[in-house]
């Protein structure tokens, strides 16, 4: 039941904060530098190496269904999704004890819950 407000439409109609990350949340605390120089961050619409790897996995699984142009679109979409996840991680500080919300209960509910 997502709306047009989802994803790019949300952004395109200015209802989701698509500010640069530094305006959404405080910058992450400095971390020790990596032993090797980190690769330059990908440009805004470039998928990046992780997105490329995931897109290869997607192609291995679903490539038989692809048509012309689909692979490139999947790569871009995965890149956007990873950037959203990164913004979420930087925007909310979570500790080890912060549990996810779940509906799971050990005792099966009476009355047929879960049947549809």
């Amino acid at each position: 039941m997502a709306a047009a407000t989802r994803r790019r439409f949300l952004g395109s109609l200015s209802l989701v904060p698509l500010l640069p990350q530094t305006l959404v949340a405080p910058p992450a605390p400095p971390t020790p530098g990596p032993a090797a120089p980190a690769p330059a961050p990908p440009a805004a619409e470039e998928p990046g190496p992780v997105a490329e790897a995931l897109a290869d996995a997607a192609r291995a699984r679903y490539g038989s269904h692809y048509e012309a142009g689909d692979d490139a679109e999947v790569r871009r979409a995965i890149g956007r999704a990873l950037r959203r996840a990164e913004r979420l991680r930087k925007g909310v500080s979570l500790g080890n004890a912060d549990a996810p919300v779940t509906l799971f209960q050990a005792r099966p509910p009476a009355g047929g819950a879960g049947s549809r």
């Binding site: 395109s12 996840a85 979570l94 047929g112």
Partner: protein, 499 residues
């Protein structure tokens, strides 16, 4: 009364006419059926007109009324449901070609409850395919074609509850049911110029509804007024053992309000206020900072005018800060992960190829690659984010913003393209670094909070604009009372589109 007055009447007015026998339930159903058949296709608003079932239910409801068996304010009222709700022996297509022949052998709980309330199902209404779950990027995203605004059919009626909103706006039904994961009631309500209520998560059973996102999906009414929304909500709210999300989270106050009927408590509250009961406190409303940032000029001016109306019965606090958190990204991660799981069979089979919108045909493949840790982090972040929103909302009866920053986009518009060339009355292009409006739609959905969208004027191309009231969980009665008071002082909700 003429035919138009009949089909655009309020639910209370219709009920009064039915009980005084100025019109029969069957005649009323026929009036709506005729309009559905005449206008539904032109608006891209209808999947199935349920004529046979409607007339059977109408005859039964009529006989009951004649026999003195009154089921309440919805008795005899024709309505439509978004075509993601199961209806026994009638196709339930989810707006999508791969499910075009799908038929269930049971009714969704919400349909059962409306039948018990005496309402008459006249139509299954058009929707964006799979409720937009695959990431559509254009209004033309349903096998029924794009939903068209009754105010200007060159423009979109909004999504994903496109047909529900358009049918209410065009007087094709007495009221309609829509669904929202993130904006799918509020957006079409705004773009079609009707009143739409997104209830608190867990207040209305979703048993029998297509699942896109188990932890975000809600069902709610789209009506011509806030008062109508209250009447419908009172009939559909309540726990259901078949939907675990409705169990165990209703407070005593809410259970009592639901048991007594939200509408009844709303009515008594309004009666006291109208009678000048000074013991009734004024509402307290927060006006969010940057509420009209980047909004079209008409959206801004209509919002300012709305604040003047609200100030007549509420204390307004200006420049209220909205929590600056990644609401949109959190919703996106959750919808991607849950939507991929919900439609895994469809995605892996390649049958998404049959979907209408190009983006929907490939969107599932990237959704399947959502990392489990990212999903769980989003579900962890939900806890402090919900707390931050609740802390804000606990200080007010509601906070207000324009429901959308613009009027509806035209048919054929790609959402990721730059807006159409600026028109003389539209807002100037935003300067780099300029603030953005508060993300109330993803925030309210992430937190499960209720919101009400009500029409508050018109903008470019004769299209409606809308005011959004966002409140604390289970504050529906308060939001509806504010909306009803606003509509007592304005007439935007009574305007009729030029069809």
């Amino acid at each position: 009364m003429n035919r138009e007055d009949l089909v655009f009447a309020s639910l209370r007015q219709l009920g009064s006419w039915l009980r005084s026998r100025r019109v029969s339930v069957v005649d009323l159903a026929e009036a709506y059926l005729e309009r559905l058949e005449a206008l539904g296709g032109r608006l891209g608003a209808v999947v199935t007109v349920t004529r046979e079932r409607a007339l059977a239910e109408a005859h039964r409801a009529n006989q009951e009324l004649l026999a003195g068996h009154d089921r309440g304010p919805l008795h005899g009222i024709p309505y439509g449901v978004k075509d993601l709700l199961a209806t026994k022996d009638i196709p339930t297509t989810w707006g999508a070609e791969p499910y075009r022949d799908q038929v269930f052998d049971y009714d969704a709980t919400i349909v059962e409850r409306l039948r018990e309330a005496g309402a008459v199902l006249v139509a299954k209404l058009a929707m964006v395919e799979l409720a937009g779950g695959m990431g559509y990027n254009n209004p033309d995203a349903s096998f029924t074609g794009p939903g068209r605004s009754p105010w200007n059919t060159d423009y979109w009626s909004g999504g994903s509850s496109s047909g529900s909103a358009a049918a209410v706006a065009a007087g094709l039904v007495g009221f309609a049911i829509g669904s929202e994961t993130s904006g799918s009631i509020l957006t079409p309500a705004a773009f079609s110029g009707v009143s739409g209520l997104r209830p608190t998560y867990g207040l209305v059973s979703r048993h029998g509804a297509m699942a896109l996102c188990w932890t975000l999906d809600k069902l709610g009414p789209l009506c011509r007024s806030a008062d109508d929304c209250g009447l419908v909500l009172a009939a559909i709210a309540g726990t259901d053992p078949k939907d675990p999300s409705t169990e165990g989270q209703l407070s005593y106050h809410v259970r009592r309000a639901v048991a007594n009927g939200t509408a009844r408590s709303l009515r008594s509250s309004l009666r006291r206020r109208r009678a000048g009961d000074t013991t009734s406190r004024r509402f307290r409303i927060g006006v969010l900072r940057h509420a009209t940032e980047r909004a079209q000029t008409e959206v801004q001016s209509n919002f300012e005018s709305s604040l003047e109306v609200l100030a007549r019965f509420a204390d307004l606090e200006q420049d209220v800060e909205f929590p600056d958190l990644p609401w949109g990204p959190a919703v996106s991660v959750i919808v991607d992960a849950e939507g991929a799981a919900a439609f895994r069979d469809l995605i892996e089979s390649g049958r998404t190829r049959k979907l209408r919108a190009k983006d929907d045909r490939v969107g599932g493949y990237s959704m399947m690659m959502t990392l489990a840790a990212d999903y769980l982090d989003a579900m962890r972040a939900r806890v402090p984010m919900r707390a931050a929103l609740d802390e804000l909302l606990s200080r007010y009866d509601a906070v207000v913003v324009p429901t959308r920053s613009s009027v509806a986009p035209p048919i054929g518009y790609d959402f990721d393209k730059p807006p159409a060339p600026a028109e003389p009355s539209s807002a100037p292009a935003p300067a780099p670094g300029r603030s953005r409006p508060p993300a109330t739609i993803p925030a309210g959905n992430l937190a499960g909070a209720p919101a009400l969208a009500i029409p508050n004027g018109f903008g470019q191309h004769g299209l409606p604009t809308s005011l959004q009231l966002l409140g604390r969980a289970f504050s529906e009665a308060t939001l509806l009372a504010i909306g009803d008071r606003f509509q007592q002082l304005t007439d935007w909700h009574t305007r009729r589109p030029p069809l």
